[in-house]
């Protein structure tokens, strides 16, 4: 062990070595979040379902005002895209605060710090997974249907998680040095829903659509919608673009995190 910045492989190995800690911190985040609350895990369902509900409501209003029929598939599509968005929002929010919120651990005990933002992401994933089970039931009963394109879904969901983890690592460490980041993130997450094709589809923007897809999360949500609801293969160039953003982004964020880690304890 030397005191130089570890290589990516070393750092990854160390996180794997501390996987039990990752598990315990995730579990702590889930458990502690709803301790001493009457409704407990119900809150985990409420937040994503509220976003789904809001999206569906907006959609219905749009369709009614333009005189169109209310189409179940439209609503299913909104519900489907809202959940990953809800996951993204909660994961980023918790992760941004994950280092600063654990001053005691950062200044007192050694362990790979990556574990903190990653646990925040996993805890949010767990919350969303509960809500997702409801959506899956909805999709099954709505007879959305199963095609070969459904096989893309796990890949796309995986990429969403990787992209979220990349941002989580970067933002948690940025927030440690500059508390402005927290406010910036709050603002961006609040208004981000308007700039991401969650409640609408990118193609409705016509020639401006690519602009929306430049946001990797936008192209990933679109791909999810295309494969599950519209039974088509995803747009491969955009998927490739989003995949490289997620994977390269994760590498870069991890590297930045490792470099900055040296001064965490004295800068927090």
């Amino acid at each position: 062990m030397s005191d130089a910045t570890p290589t990516l492989a070393e750092s990854l190995k160390e996180v794997v070595h501390y996987r039990d800690l990752l598990y315990m911190l995730t579990w702590r985040d889930i458990k502690a979040r709803y301790k001493q609350s009457m409704m407990g895990f119900f809150w985990a369902l409420l937040m994503p379902l509220l976003i789904v509900g809001a999206g569906v409501l907006v959609r219905i209003v749009f369709l009614m005002s333009s005189g169109n029929h209310i189409n179940f598939l439209d609503l299913a599509s909104i519900a489907l895209k809202s959940l990953p968005w809800a996951f993204f929002v909660s994961a980023i929010k918790f992760a941004t605060n994950s280092l600063v919120g654990n001053v005691n651990l950062v200044t007192k005990i050694y362990f790979p710090r990556e574990v903190l933002p990653l646990a925040a992401v996993l805890a949010s994933l767990f919350d969303t997974a509960i809500a997702s089970s409801l959506i899956i039931i909805l999709l099954v009963f709505g007879k959305v249907g199963v095609t070969i394109h459904l096989l893309w879904a796990p890949v796309i969901l995986g990429l969403i998680i990787l992209f979220t983890a990349a941002l989580a690592l970067f933002l948690s460490c940025a927030n440690l040095f500059f508390r402005d980041v927290k406010y910036l993130v709050d603002i961006l997450l609040t208004f981000g829903i308007f700039f991401t094709p969650v409640f609408y589809e990118a193609r409705t923007m016509g020639k401006w659509a690519p602009l929306l897809l430049l946001n990797p999360l936008g192209s990933l949500l679109e791909a999810l919608n295309t494969t599950i609801i519209r039974h088509q293969g995803p747009s491969l160039p955009w998927l490739a673009y989003a995949a490289s953003c997620a994977i390269l982004g994760l590498f870069a964020a991890w590297r930045i995190f490792d470099r900055a880690e040296a001064s965490f304890a004295e800068s927090i």
């Binding site: 005191d3 315990m24 005691n104 050694y110 362990f111 500059f178 508390r179 040296a262 004295e266």
Partner: protein, 407 residues
């Protein structure tokens, strides 16, 4: 595996006083200033060296102590060793699984129960869940709080909190263990339990680095000691020697008296210099007086304090007239004081003075002149050894029972 468990190679560590930039608004002017002014001073404004050129090695299986006054750099050293901080210059190398105990219960989550926190804290300290499950009962028993284990820790008293924290930490079983001042938790009995556990850890061959103000514990646990002073190495060597020097702060007032007391030393009964004594052992205090005037009607004052907490153990005034009733002290005279070390385990410091009875003033004083340690395994706590024996009163015969030697 190499013989060296930990190595500190010419380590320097810089810190900054006061606030650092933690919002973007402050950063921009600072960065532009940095770009436009060609500033290559070693220390910038408000920066200071917390450690300067500190090197030491700790061998495998060794118990090593780090002592020093507040601000000497002990905690910084420990944080560097545990990789919480990284050195500004120099290299730190560690061979083996390392676990640091810098604050007990640092990872506790207040809303979780004791049981949940044992698992959480154990993982934070680097244990596996399986490992914790295996040791769980042992940990709870060590903390002595089986009945509260399913209560959220926010309802715990601070003593319970610390006890549970230490219990988890004491069961980590690393190859290298770093401990910072954690033995000061709980009541005396629990402290003894902690010390006992530490001794066991050392005996099992774990490399232990121990940072403490508790010199008694240092002396008991560690074979070698590093004394830091103002961020540099003041002394490094066998514990007894380093403690001896650390405790013997030369008295500032010594020069205020014309009469000098010199060559103060503590010896065993057979003559050689000695630092460690067993309870009840005979000792000799040697000293030489250089009188500036004739010493008449003087007393030799002998004070013994416990070094770790300043408790006055005894204060004797021995009339010098009895030593040489007919020859007045006019030239350098060597004296010998016979002592019986009826003391219990601890670090003690001896001060001597000469008191002139008719004028009620001190003629000479050597404050904290020499110190010594007592090692024993008879009693858990206390100062004096009263050599108790228990016997049962039967009609005519007595069955004597001596105290049993522990550990």
């Amino acid at each position: 595996m190499s013989e060296i468990a930990l190595e500190f190679d010419r380590i320097w560590k810089k810190f900054k006083r006061g606030e650092i930039y933690d919002s973007l608004r402050d950063l921009i002017p600072a960065v532009t200033k940095g770009v436009f002014s060609n500033d290559d001073r070693e220390l910038h404004e408000r920066e200071f060296w917390a450690l300067r050129d500190v090197s030491f090695q700790v061998r495998r299986g060794e118990a090593f102590a780090i002592i020093g006054a507040n601000g000497a750099g002990k905690s910084t050293t420990l944080k560097l060793l545990s990789r919480i901080l990284r050195p500004t210059r120099g290299r730190m190398t560690a061979h083996g699984r390392l676990s640091a105990l810098i604050e007990v219960g640092a990872g506790f989550h207040l809303d979780l129960t004791g049981r949940e926190n044992v698992y959480l804290n154990g993982c934070i300290l680097g244990m596996k869940r399986q490992e914790i499950a295996r040791k769980f009962d042992e940990i709870v028993e060590f903390a002595g709080m089986a009945e509260f284990i399913d209560t959220p820790v926010k309802r715990y008293s601070s003593g319970m909190y610390a006890r549970l924290g230490f219990a988890v930490a004491a069961h980590v079983d690393p190859e290298i263990l770093l401990i910072d001042e954690v033995l000061s938790v709980g009541d005396m009995q629990f402290q003894e339990k902690c010390l006992d556990r530490m001794r066991q850890v050392v005996k099992n061959g774990t490399t232990v680095i121990f940072v403490s103000h508790n010199l008694q514990a240092v002396q008991m646990l560690c074979s070698r000691t590093l004394c830091l002073k103002g961020g540099t190495v003041a002394r490094i060597g066998p514990t007894a020697e380093v403690l001896n020097e650390y405790l013997c702060i030369p008295s500032a007032s010594a020069g205020a008296f014309p009469t000098l007391i010199e060559d103060i030393s503590l010896r065993g009964e057979d003559g050689p210099l000695k630092v460690n004594f067993a309870t009840g052992e005979k000792a000799q205090l040697h000293l030489t007086i250089h009188p500036s005037e004739e010493l008449e009607d003087c007393q030799l004052g002998l004070l013994v304090h416990r070094a770790t907490d300043g408790l006055a153990v005894c204060d004797y005034n021995l009339p010098l007239s009895e030593v040489a009733p007919f020859t007045p002290f006019t030239s350098a005279t060597s004296l010998l004081v016979h002592l019986s070390m009826n003391l219990l385990r601890g670090a003690y410091v001896v001060s001597v003075h000469i008191y002139h009875v008719p004028t009620a003033r001190y003629i000479a004083r050597a404050y904290r002149a020499v110190n010594f340690f007592v090692e024993e395994t008879i009693s858990w706590q206390g100062v004096a050894h009263l050599a108790p024996t228990v016997s049962r009163v039967l009609d005519d015969c007595h069955f004597a029972m001596s105290p049993v030697m522990k550990g």
